[in-house]
Symmetry: C2
Subunit: 567 residues, 2 copies
């Protein structure tokens, strides 16, 4: 590919609405152009990257035994009414009325269509298992489209759906897809984690999200430094610490006139934050409750709500706190001689000794507090906090690290919900109609491109992993219009690289070297090779890897080895 | 590919709504399934064929120097208002309102979006010419979707758009694309014609439609048997015949009491239909006109309307005929001694001698009529008829044949209409803002699949050209479950074919031979190879080409030669 024949259009400035680095760099590099809110054109440069992702996804789906098909993007309302999602899906569902006033939607997902297909196509258990996929344009009418293709309204997705006679076979397919997803993101050269996910209200039995790790990610992920364990921070279990130490101090009342937070109290007392206890006043089914976590921990509302009597808890009002503890927020705590309160202690709090809590008296805290001596044992001990870095991994192997991630894939055991709602059955070996169980498996193809940039960039621009780069190498020609010999040499090198299976672009646009190199760094080509008159005389090429500190002059054999090794 | 791992689902019956053979066969073969009116799911089998077409189109676009990109399918109303097409496009434009009540459409074509892209991306003449394409899902809200994917509402299209400084460069690109289209349809193995098309109201300067020839085609096409000339029958010029013969008969009044058509009069008189003249009474700008064509020809309304004074002609009423000719339809003619009428004669009529016309008297015709003697020379001589088979080709080379065609491609010199309406300019070499001229080039990717079937089928099913077949060969295994040796032999053959670059499926479903062969004939696989225990013993394979009368038993080398030769 000669760049003079290609449409490459980088720019220095980007609109202020581009908030995150991938959005900025995709605009600067000229990979995407905005058409309207949440609608982006993929330029020739951007499409090259998108197609590389698409190809890897397709190859791994094929290898996993999924069969490609293509469903319409426009779907009839009637199907969505069968599952109740015409109303339930909410505002993201783009509803369309045709010229005959019939209602349709622009498919945000295809569970209804594939289940309709299955109930027509699959009649016998002999046709199961069946796993179909498509790579297709989807639409979700985001209320606030932003971040470029990271949260666009129209986007490219791979969605797969599987049908099984029984749960064991669904488990088997789920593992196959889990492995295929691992291979996809590994082949794309991305650092990622497969994260346990909440199956939520749909009631499937297993679910994993695949996150590309990046500092800008929306989700916090906890993962083991020793095993494959990973989970959303809010879902990861905080294991019980070792047994409680013996009491070593007397309980003392300390004056804390302006100290209403654990941080402020710890600072005043010159003690560690991890020796303080945060008391959170709640109203559950049985009334007033104090939930306790360590001063350096965060309460986890999802875990709290799973405890008996707390499914619909709320925070206590100041009036309720005054009524139950006789003081105001900032000084509350579990020590109430003669009028004990209902206490739920986090596992780590239950293991503390000589700790600091509010004194239930304005301007005072208690230090050197100990369970059983200064207050009763907690009524409930449970995991009610977010995990933090350094916690033991819940799978017993290694310690947790915390990173931020961008969700780019999701696999899900759907169960029989859709098949039941749409009356999809097959005959089993005895001729009896049975409802198949389903899995669904999504990859945000266009989102991966943005996520990869969030993870791989520097001050000069994008740093593509080899597999996603628009070209693996670029041959920069110095003065192509003045010097026919450099063009001839560049073309010869281009043929050699092609012969090795390396996609190379020739930058024959005639730009000054500085501008040409800046463009190639911005668009993130891994290998840059400069062909110049001087190099031809010396018998060398100037080579630089995108991540190298500097370029070096090397001969042809060394060059081919360097570029070829990375492929 | 093992068919036991694939989703192949043929059926014997098809819904009554499937009117044309391609629709029926695509449903029977299980290539498509209807989701809703004009919306079809491409099954795994159908998608394999669709992707083959897509790949050939993509390769030829790349080879022609067009650059692939991807625009959104959803387009904002504002752009369509700039060109006036938001209203003018009509009911096929599917309009969509989003959750914020902004209006969009599901793109039926992308002139507006690409011109918007160009006015942002193309600033200088140095960036021209530029040619972009995409392969993408389009939507046209057909008032009567029918014929399966032949006239579906959602369909797959390749659309390309080019931008040029001047008309000469557009001409050059137009020729390049014309050639690329020729290669596409040639590679796909289709019989086709590139047909001159009317540029219509948009006012472009050149336009060709590409038609796949098929008896069921909607359009009649005239093409030379000696040159590449082809045009829609209604647009092909009927050349002037040789000079007029001398009068050889006297004019006689003949009784034709019940004979109101040329056919009936010719039969009664025992003369050839080509010796009779049909008179058509019209009202043009200047009043009453008689248009004359030979009895065996059809009047061409498009050609008529291009004559001076006839742009908005209409047929005369019976009252107007009575007033001007004194008689009723069925007996009218141009001979009106003493009260001559305005006569427009087709070129072939002007060259006739001794012809038959209505006598302007109920129940009578005139025979032996001659121009100049019995009536004045025609006021106008012009080409006002449809060409017929055997006419000389308008390009002077060969004779015309007539065939029916299905439009699958269209290339068009758009000119500056869109660029002007949307204020798209570039700076020329002198720094002056100039409006680029545009070309557009469409291919109906999904429609090609149906058109190919209309052209290539027999009583047993589809007969795919090699390039479009879902697999080039199928290895049918007899009794795979009973006889491991046949599976081993089939797998060895499969590897050999793969090594030769031949895509082969293995039918290991365990069907009876008759059912298996019927399936493979229905889905149209070109090469069928049967592996059986008997064959293994004899050292032969049973081979049959889809179009062969019978199968034959041949050895491995002969088999590989036969299958390989066709690739």
């Amino acid at each position: 590919m000669r760049l003079s024949q290609f449409h490459l259009h980088t720019s220095k400035e980007v609109p202020a609405e581009a908030e995150i680095i991938s959005h900025k760099l995709m605009l600067k590099a000229g990979m995407i152009r905005k058409l309207a809110s949440g609608l982006y054109t993929w330029t020739p440069l951007g499409l090259r990257v998108l197609r590389k992702v698409e190809r890897v996804v397709r190859e791994e789906m094929d290898a996993a035994g999924a069969i490609e098909m293509l469903m319409p993007s426009v779907q009839p309302r009637e199907l969505w009414e069968e599952t109740g999602r015409w109303e339930k899906f909410g505002g993201q569902l783009l509803k369309i009325q045709d010229r005959k006033d019939a209602w349709y939607c622009y498919g945000p997902t295809h569970e209804e269509v594939i289940t309709d297909f299955a109930r027509q196509e699959l009649a016998s258990y002999k046709q199961l298992p069946a796993c179909f996929y498509q790579i297709q344009t989807k639409f979700r009418d985001e209320i606030r489209p932003r971040f470029g293709v990271m949260r666009a309204r129209e986007f490219l997705m791979k969605d797969a759906y599987s049908f099984h006679l029984d749960d064991a076979d669904l488990d088997r397919q789920y593992e196959v897809m889990h492995e295929a997803y691992n291979r996809i993101f590994t082949r794309l050269g991305l650092e990622f984690r497969a994260v346990f996910a909440d199956t939520g209200a749909i009631g499937g039995s297993a679910s994993h999200e695949f996150h590309v790790l990046a500092a800008s990610g929306e989700d916090a992920i906890a993962f083991s430094d020793a095993s494959g364990y990973a989970a959303n921070v809010e879902l990861a279990e905080a294991l019980a610490p070792g047994s409680r130490a013996a009491a070593g101090a007397d309980m003392t009342r300390v004056e804390t006139p302006y100290q209403r937070t654990c941080e402020a109290v710890a600072e005043l007392l010159g003690t560690g934050l991890e020796r303080t206890v945060k008391s959170i006043a709640l109203i559950g089914e049985q009334g007033f409750v104090l939930a306790l976590v360590r001063g350096d921990h965060q309460i986890n509302e999802i875990k709290l709500a799973k405890l008996p009597g707390l499914a619909e808890y709320r925070m206590a009002t100041e009036a309720e706190i005054l009524e139950n503890l006789g003081t105001e927020p900032g000084f509350i705590g579990p020590v109430m001689p003669g009028k004990p309160v209902h206490v739920i202690a986090d596992r780590s709090v239950a293991a503390m000794a000589d700790f600091v809590v509010g004194a239930n008296e304005k301007g005072f805290h208690l230090a050197g507090v100990n369970w059983g001596r200064d207050l009763p044992e907690p009524d409930v001990v449970a995991d009610i906090r977010n995990v933090v870095a350094g916690d033991p991994s819940p799978d017993g192997s290694g310690k947790l690290q915390i990173a931020r991630g961008i969700e780019v894939g999701h696999i899900f055991q759907l169960g029989r919900t859709y098949a039941k709602a749409m009356d999809c059955t097959v005959q089993d070996a005895n001729g009896k109609a049975v409802t198949p169980t389903m899995g669904c498996y999504g990859v945000g193809v266009s989102r991966i491109v943005a996520a990869a940039i969030e993870q791989n960039h520097d001050a000069s621009g994008i740093v593509w992993p080899e597999a996603m780069a628009p070209w693996q190498a670029v041959i920069c020609i110095i003065n192509p219009k003045k010097d026919p010999a450099v063009v001839v040499a560049a073309e010869a090198l281009h043929r050699q690289l092609n012969g090795m299976g390396i996609e190379a672009a020739m930058d024959d646009r005639g730009l000054r070297p500085g501008a040409m190199f800046a463009d190639m760094e911005l668009i993130g080509v891994p290998h840059r090779i400069v062909v110049s008159e001087r190099g031809i005389v010396a018998g060398t090429f100037e080579y630089r890897h995108r991540l190298a500190e500097a370029s070096e002059n090397i001969g042809l054999d060394a060059l081919l080895t360097r570029v070829g090794a990375a492929i």
